[in-house]
């Protein structure tokens, strides 16, 4: 009885949604017509007609296209059964086990995501082509059993008899949320009348969500049970826990490794884009970090529109299932092994993913990328000090200029001129205390300046490292040591610039910018600031 009441309720909500849509468009149209008839063409009536058009747009988005995912919106690569026989075979097996139709198309996407969707027609009454997307990062990070769990969960949304209502509930939710999305956030402009549409559809969305939340969540739990039945409870649990970890790791990898050189026009070569993710996951120190994340997952932000229950609750529900005897997949295999010709396939996905980013960019090796970004970082680090040196001397900021300043006894001035450190600001530090804080910064700036200079004359370079996003500075050990000593001596409580002087005169000379130290400017002969050179 309750079940029928619920169906009636959801049907009512869906009908209500259509009614609101019709009422909104019809009401606005009528108002516009009356407006034009009564007042003719003027600002208000023109605006009214724009609002009406916007309402029609929002309604169309909500009613007709909201559940449709267009192929051209997928930043992935379609793989046919001929391309990837093993993957297709596995998906067919899983669909058969779940008891539902297999997808007709499969896409590999560069996201930490997997999904099955169906572009239904006539308000969901006529089934459409079923399609599936599989995220490449999942293939690389999950075991075969974990991937089975993820895919079975997605297929389970269609096959599970307990949730045959899913289509209706999903249709209602997606309709009203789609309209809300269409009315709200537009990046470049705001629809005329957006505020009105948002108010109407948010109000209705809240009602729909309240009624359907339980059913949606029940759907997720049911899909999880399907996943557990097929891949084993422990593997389903492991897959759920792993999703967040992979998401974090992949986001970190993209940010810190793949697109790090984008602003200086550099990208890793496409075959390396996903290969590198395997390299990062295999790095022991990163594994330690990921293990930490596995032990203490970050708290998820509760999204009131999210149809998924929180992960811990889903895991708890899975744990409460009876033991099925299927062991945890500890083979060490990754699901990516299912791909035929992986190198080319992943390169294709990467090329597709970076399509919008890669125009005009150069594909370089990881080491070249590390060296270029290392140099840029060194230069950036040195810049505040170089600015101060240029300002205090009125000369171009060469390392020799800085050495001369120190020799002239003006280190104190340099320290006082550097940007105030956070610690100095927090403690209102003055005098010696502020200068000691500044010395910490000075040491880092100087290190950047010197290593940048050394890199420019070919005596240092950065190589790629999965353990350290900054890469490893390659430099003769004794040179590295003498740089460290020179910097330490300079930022000592009683500063000593002689080592730095020796280092600069002795080794950076090939730069050709060294001037005789005889021209040291004593305090008071500083040139006017107007002569500072860029």
């Amino acid at each position: 009885m309750r079940r029928y009441a619920f169906v009636a309720q959801v049907l009512g909500l869906l009908a209500g949604f259509y009614l609101i849509c019709i009422a909104l468009v019809a009401g606005l149209t009528a108002l516009t017509v009356v407006g034009f008839a009564e007042a003719g063409v003027n600002r208000l009536t023109l605006f009214l007609s724009l609002v009406t058009l916007a309402a029609a747009f929002v309604v169309v988005r909500g009613v007709f296209v909201s559940t449709h995912l267009r192929v051209r919106d997928i930043a992935g690569v379609e793989v046919t059964a001929a391309d990837q026989p093993a993957l297709w075979h596995r998906v067919h097996q899983l669909a058969a086990q779940v008891g539902t139709r297999p997808p007709r198309r499969i896409f590999l996407v560069p996201e930490v995501n997997a999904a099955v969707w169906e572009n239904t027609r006539l308000l969901g009454l006529i089934p459409g082509k079923r399609q599936m997307m599989v995220g490449v990062p999942l293939l690389m990070a999950l075991t075969p059993a974990q991937l089975d769990a993820v895919l079975a969960h997605e297929l389970g949304h269609y096959g599970n008899r307990d949730t045959r209502l899913g289509g209706l509930v999903g249709r209602t939710r997606q309709g009203v949320l789609g309209a809300l999305r269409a009315a709200g956030s537009r990046r470049k402009f705001t629809l005329p009348g957006a505020a009105l549409f948002v108010i109407v559809f948010r109000w209705y969305a809240q009602i729909v969500l309240r009624v359907t939340q339980e059913a949606s969540r029940a759907q997720e739990y049911a899909a999880d049970r399907v996943a557990a039945a097929i891949s084993g409870k422990v593997n389903a649990i492991a897959a759920l826990g792993e999703l967040q970890v992979v998401d974090t790791a992949f986001g970190f990898y993209l940010d810190r490794y793949v697109i790090r050189g984008l602003d200086i026009g550099l990208l890793p070569p496409p075959p390396e884009v996903f290969g590198g993710f395997i390299g990062l996951l295999a790095e022991p120190s990163r594994q330690t970090e990921l293990d930490e994340l596995r032990r203490e997952p970050r708290e998820e932000k509760a999204d009131p529109f999210d149809s998924h229950p929180p992960t811990p609750e889903r895991i708890a529900a899975l744990r409460s299932l009876p033991d099925d005897g299927i062991p945890l997949d500890q083979s060490g295999l990754k699901a990516v092994a299912i791909l035929a010709n992986p190198q080319d396939t992943l390169a294709k996905v990467a090329t597709r993913a970076l399509r919008n980013l890669s125009t005009g960019k150069e594909a370089v090796s990881w080491d070249a990328l590390a060296d270029a970004t290392g140099r840029r970082r060194a230069d950036e680090r040195a810049r505040p000090l170089q600015d101060v040196v240029a300002r205090l001397t009125g000369q171009p900021a060469h390392m020799t200029t800085f050495v001369k300043l120190v020799e002239a006894g003006r280190l104190k001035e340099v320290l006082d001129s550097l940007p105030h450190t956070v610690a100095a600001q927090k403690t209102n530090a003055t005098g010696r205390v502020a200068r000691e804080y500044a010395k910490t910064e000075l040491g880092a700036m100087l290190g950047g300046w010197i290593s940048g200079d050394f890199a420019r004359v070919g005596r240092a370079r950065w190589t790629h490292s999965w353990a350290d996003i900054d890469g490893e500075l390659q430099m003769a050990a004794e040179v590295k040591a003498s740089i460290e000593e020179a910097v330490d001596a300079l930022i000592a409580v009683r500063p000593d610039g002689s080592r730095l002087r020796a280092l600069v005169l002795g080794t950076v000379q090939p730069l050709g910018t060294v001037q005789p130290l005889g021209t040291v400017q004593p305090r008071g002969t500083v040139q006017p600031l107007g002569t500072v050179q860029p």
Binding site: T421, V422, A423, K426, T427, A429, T430, G431, R432, V433, E436, Y437, K439, T440, E441, I491, A492, V493, R494
Partner: protein, 353 residues
């Protein structure tokens, strides 16, 4: 009242003077011959003209005057340590005069003592007295960098004046901040015992190392205090170490728990011993006034107001000593405690019987 634990002292007890009836009555301190709040000073105690002269000379950059004013290296250890540590404080904000001293008289052990201690004080200013978790990474970095340079200056002073205890006392702070292990610390302590077995300055500082919040434990700290007590001859003012220990480690918990503790036997016995110690101490003991500040504070806490007023009278006017300087507002803490003592003393003497 907020607390500003100084010199690595974290979580020192904080009290507001409890007043029966809940209302704080104003006390006319001047009428009783005390220094008014506006004239309390935190930099130096009155009646120490030598230190005043040092500060003046340092401000003018006359290191020779500073050098001539500080006690010679063969002075009594506590006299030497106390004076040089006070001079070192003058170098924390500006050390131009100290640099000139080191350059001009590189063979002067006193200059290196001041340099080493100034680095220790500077390091703790950089660290701030916040709890470890609230210290910024750049503050830790500066703290360690500066503190790590102090041992070399201690060594330099020791090489120049092998019998001097002062650089070894400074070295204990390095051990504390640089997390040197207990055995390494015990070696330093042995050097101190050989040079100044009853130095109050040395014992006060060693206690910090043994606290659980640094490199010790509750047991090690208690053992150190007990050992000090059993070794110390009467009149050397080492009973003050127990008062410092009580302040830093024992008086904990809620306000009610602390109040109960202050009125209990542990503090009472410590105060009796400290008073007897003071009575037997030579009038020129360098740490006599420091000792009296401890007594003034704790006698008030213990409700022994009449005795507290006596101590306040003896050291009145200076709020830069322990324990006052640990608090955010040393002047207010001193003034409030003093007012509480005077009020309590008045009430007791006006009660019949």
């Amino acid at each position: 009242m907020s607390k500003r634990p100084a010199f690595g002292i974290v979580g020192a007890p904080v009290d507001s003077a409890p007043v029966p009836g809940g209302q704080r009555q104003a006390v006319d301190v001047a009428a009783h011959g005390f220094v008014p709040i506006g004239r309390l000073r935190a930099d130096r105690a009155a009646g120490e003209p030598a230190l005043d002269a040092c500060a003046e000379a340092a401000r003018r950059g006359e290191w020779r005057t500073v050098s001539a004013t500080v006690p010679p290296v063969d002075a009594e250890p506590d006299l030497h340590a106390r004076a040089l540590f006070a001079v070192a404080e003058l170098a924390v904000e500006d050390d131009a005069w100290l640099g000139a001293w080191l350059d001009g008289a590189p063979g002067d052990a006193n200059a290196w003592c001041v340099h080493a201690e100034a680095m220790v004080l500077l390091a703790w200013r950089l660290r701030t007295s916040n709890q470890a978790k609230d210290v910024l990474p750049e503050q830790w970095q500066a703290f360690h960098r500066v503190l790590a340079q102090a041992p070399a200056a201690c060594e330099r002073a020791t090489a120049l004046a092998p019998h001097l205890a002062t650089p070894w006392i400074t070295l204990m702070s390095c051990a504390q901040g640089l997390s040197w292990d207990n055995d390494r610390f015990r070696e330093i302590w042995a050097q101190i015992l050989a040079r100044a077995p009853y130095s109050v300055a040395a014992h006060m500082r060693a206690l910090n190392y043994w606290l659980p919040r640094w490199q010790g434990s509750p047991e090690l700290a208690a053992a150190f205090v007990n050992d000090t007590e059993s070794r110390a001859p009467l009149g050397r003012l080492l009973s003050g170490v127990r008062l410092e220990y009580i302040f830093l480690e024992r008086a904990r918990g809620t306000a009610a728990e602390r109040t109960a503790y202050y009125r209990g036997p542990e503090l009472s016995e410590a105060l009796d011993a400290a008073q007897a110690d003071l009575a037997s101490s030579p009038p020129d003991h360098p740490y006599r006034s420091n000792h009296r500040h401890w007594l003034a504070y704790f006698l008030t806490r213990a409700g022994r107001y009449g005795e507290a007023v006596e101590e306040f009278r003896a050291v009145d006017g200076f709020v830069g000593a322990w324990p006052w300087k640990v608090f955010d507002d040393a002047t207010a803490t001193f003034a409030n405690t003093r007012a509480e003592a005077i009020r309590g003393w008045q009430e007791a003497s006006s009660r019949p019987g």
